[in-house]
C-alpha cells in the first residue's frame, strides 16, 4: 500500500520545510554507548521545537553505539522527526534494505546516506568493513525503493517500497577541491533530495564552493544545509584543525576562542604546580613532616583551579555559541544555502540559544503529514 503524499515524495516535516522555502534547521543526536532509552529522550527534549528534524548518528567515528534506527524510533515517540544516518561501512545491501524496511515501519521518513568513518578511528579497529555499496549507490538504492518500488536486485516490492527523503553528505573542504561540486552533482543525479555539509569553519572556501554549485544550478535541484557547530574550547578548535581529516579551520576561530579567556588567570602555571607538588608527595615517606605543607598548598590550589576551569568553560561556551550564531547569519546570506545543520556534539543544550540568537525561533509550522 503506497500512502498518498499530496505531491510530496515523503511528506516528512523536513520535506515540507524544504518545499516551503523556509530556512531549514536540522540538529544532531548521538545515541548512547549503552541501552538506556532515557538518555535519548533527554537529548530529544533539548532539541524539540528548535530543529525541524534531527540526525541520529550511525556508530559515529566507528564507535559502537545504540542503533540509529532504534534510537530514531524513540525520537519519533518523543514527537521529534529523525533523520536516520546509514553508513556503508557496517552493512551490505541485504542488511541495509532490511533495516530500511524496519525503519520505515517504525515511522522514520528521512535517511542520510554515508560512506562511514573508517573503522581504524573507532573502538573496534580490527573489524572487517563492508563497503558492499558506496554512499552514491546507497542514495540511488533508497531512491529506487521509493520511486520505482524495487529492491536493489530489481525485484518489485509488491506493497510498495519504503519511502524516505534521501539525504547525502557533502564535504566542501575535502580534496580534490575542484572535484567536490562534481561529486555533489553526482549525488543529485543519483537521487539526493537534501545534503548536509561538513562543519564549516572556513566560510570563504565554502563560498567559493557554493559559487561553483550555483553556477552548475545544483542548488535548485537539492536542498543544501550548511553544517555548523559551536566550539567548546581552544583545544577543540585546534583538534578539528589538526586532527580531523577533511576539515579546515580558519585562524579566526582559534583566535576567537583564545581571546575569550583573556583576563582570566592562566591555568597552566597552576596545573603545573599541582603536578609538581603531587610528584613531591610521591617522593616523601608516609610520616614525613614536610607533607603537611605540600598538602596544604594542594588543598588551596584545588578550588582555584576548579574556579578558573569553570570560568574558562563559561567564557568558551558563550563565545562558541556567539560565533556559531554569527556563522549561521553569514551562511544564510550565501546564495544556494537552504538551511543549517547544527552539530552540537554532546552539547544539545546549545541548540536552543543558537537558534534563538540566530533569529530562527519559533520554527515554522508547515503542517503535519498525518501519517506519523
Amino acid at each position: 500500500m503506497t500512502t498518498s503524499t499530496n505531491g510530496y515524495k515523503v511528506g516528512s516535516n523536513l520535506e515540507r520545510m524544504i518545499r516551503s522555502g523556509e530556512f531549514v534547521v536540522t540538529g544532531e543526536l548521538g545515541p548512547p554507548q549503552g541501552h538506556h532509552a532515557e538518555e535519548i529522550r533527554e537529548k530529544a527534549a533539548l532539541l524539540k521545537g528548535y530543529v525541524d528534524a534531527v540526525n541520529i548518528t550511525d556508530n559515529q567515528t566507528a564507535i559502537v553505539r545504540m542503533s540509529s534506527i532504534a534510537a530514531g524510533a524513540i525520537v519519533v515517540q518523543e514527537g521529534l522527526e529523525p533523520i536516520i544516518q546509514m553508513t556503508c561501512r557496517d552493512r551490505n545491501r541485504l542488511a541495509i534494505q532490511s533495516d530500511l524496511l524496519g525503519a520505515a515501519a517504525l515511522g522514520c521518513q528521512n535517511l542520510l546516506c554515508l560512506s562511514g568513518d573508517h573503522q581504524s578511528f573507532g573502538n573496534h579497529p580490527g573489524a572487517k568493513n563492508v563497503h558492499d555499496i558506496d554512499s552514491m549507490q546507497l542514495v540511488q538504492m533508497v531512491k529506487n525503493l521509493r520511486d520505482e518500488n524495487i529492491f536493489e536486485c530489481g525485484d518489485v516490492i509488491k506493497e510498495g517500497g519504503p519511502r524516505f527523503l534521501v539525504g547525502a553528505a557533502v564535504n566542501p573542504f575535502g580534496d580534490p577541491f575542484e572535484w567536490r561540486p562534481y561529486r555533489l552533482a553526482k549525488k543529485v543525479a543519483a537521487g539526493a533530495d537534501f545534503v548536509q555539509t561538513q562543519l564549516i569553519y572556513d566560510i570563504p572556501r565554502f563560498k567559493e564552493f557554493m559559487k561553483r554549485v550555483v553556477d552548475m544550478g545544483l542548488h535548485e535541484k537539492v536542498a543544501i544545509l550548511a553544517g555548523v557547530g559551536p566550539l567548546k574550547s581552544v583545544g577543540m578548535a585546534k583538534y578539528m584543525r589538526d586532527k580531523v581529516p577533511g576539515m579546515i579551520v580558519e585562524d579566526r576561530y582559534i583566535d576567537g576562542m583564545t581571546d575569550a579567556i583573556t583576563g582570566i588567570e592562566p591555568l597552566p602555571p597552576l596545573t603545573k604546580r599541582r603536578k609538581a607538588l603531587k610528584a613531591q608527595l610521591q617522593e616523601l615517606g608516609e610520616d614525613d613532616p614536610a607533607r603537611a605543607e605540600i598538602e596544604a598548598e594542594l588543598a588551596e590550589l584545588a578550588p582555584r583551579i576548579k574556579e578558573i576551569q569553570a570560568e574558562r568553560n563559561k567564557n568558551w561556551r558563550e563565545k562558541g555559541i556567539q560565533m556559531c550564531i554569527e556563522q549561521i547569519q553569514e551562511l544564510r546570506e550565501v546564495e544556494g544555502v537552504a538551511g543549517v545543520h547544527i552539530m552540537a556534539i554532546e552539547w544539545e543544550a546549545a541548540v536552543k540559544p543558537i537558534t534563538e540568537g540566530a533569529g530562527l525561533l519559533p520554527r515554522p509550522n508547515v503542517g503535519s503529514n498525518g501519517s506519523g
Binding site: D117, S120, Q140, E178
Partner: protein
C-alpha cells in the same frame, strides 16, 4: 607479484617447538623477488633457528631447500625424497605454496614461515605497495588505470569520501588517496566526464564473496571432461 613478509622468529619457533628435525623450504618466484622466502632468506632463517634453539637448550636440526615455484606440483617433486628425514616442514612460500605442499604431500605437515600480504609492486628499493585485489572484474579502464578496490580504504566506486585531504587518505598520512590519483589522472587524460558516470553497485560474485574461485579452460585441458 605476490608480496609477503617473514613471520616473527618467536612465532616460527612456537610452530616448530615439538619437532626435532625441521626442513625450511623456500620458493624461487615472487617471495624471492620481495626478499621474503628465497634461498638467502631460508639460509638466514635456518641459521637463526639453529642458534636460537641451541641457546634455548634444545638445539634442532634445521635444513634448507628451495624450489623454483612452490605453487606448481612438478617443481616440488624433488622434495619428495627428503621429507622422510624431517618431523616438520616450514614453507617460506606464499599461502598458495604452503597449501600446495600440504595437498601434494599429505603424509607431512607444512607450516607457514611467511605472512602473505598482497599483490603489488616495489615502488622503491625496500618498499612494496598493493595494487590489485583480484576482484575478478577489472574496471581500470574507468578509473584511469588506478584501482579504487585495492587502493581506496572504503573501496568507493564513485569518487572520494570526505576524508581525503592534501592527497592523502584519512586512515594514514602516508597512504595516498586513490580518488585524488584517479581525479588527477582523469584530468590529465581529459576524461573527467567518465568519472561523472554513476557506477552501479558492483557484482562481487567474481570476487572472494562468490566463494573460492576457479578457472577452467577446456581448450587447455589434456583430458576432455564431459559434464552431464
Amino acid at each position: 607479484m605476490i608480496v609477503a613478509e617473514q613471520k616473527p622468529l618467536n612465532e616460527i619457533k612456537t610452530m616448530i617447538a615439538d619437532a626435532e628435525r625441521v626442513l625450511l623450504v623456500g620458493c624461487g618466484t615472487c617471495v624471492t623477488v620481495c626478499f621474503a622466502g628465497g634461498t638467502k632468506e631460508v639460509d638466514l632463517l635456518a641459521t637463526s633457528l639453529r642458534m636460537s634453539t641451541k641457546l634455548d637448550g634444545n638445539g634442532k636440526v634445521v635444513d634448507e631447500f628451495t624450489v623454483q615455484r612452490q605453487c606448481e606440483w612438478e617443481y616440488n617433486e624433488p622434495l619428495k625424497e627428503k621429507l622422510d628425514d624431517y618431523d616438520l616442514v616450514v614453507s617460506l612460500g606464499c599461502g598458495v605454496g604452503v597449501q600446495t605442499l600440504n595437498e601434494q604431500f599429505p603424509q607431512k605437515q607444512f607450516v607457514p614461515g611467511l605472512n602473505t600480504a598482497f599483490m603489488g609492486l616495489p615502488t622503491e628499493q625496500g618498499v612494496w605497495e598493493e595494487r590489485c585485489a583480484a576482484c575478478g572484474n577489472c574496471i581500470l579502464d574507468k578509473t584511469g588505470g588506478i584501482c579504487p578496490i585495492a587502493r581506496c580504504a572504503k573501496q568507493l566506486l564513485n569518487g572520494p569520501c570526505g576524508g581525503s585531504q592534501n592527497g592523502v587518505c584519512e586512515i594514514e598520512s602516508d597512504v595516498p588517496c586513490a580518488w585524488q590519483l584517479i581525479w588527477e589522472r582523469a584530468n590529465d587524460l581529459g576524461q573527467i566526464d567518465r568519472l561523472m558516470e554513476l557506477q552501479p553497485a558492483k557484482d562481487w560474485r567474481t570476487s572472494r564473496d562468490g566463494g573460492p574461485r576457479k578457472i577452467v579452460r577446456e581448450d587447455l585441458r589434456l583430458v576432455a571432461h564431459e559434464e552431464e
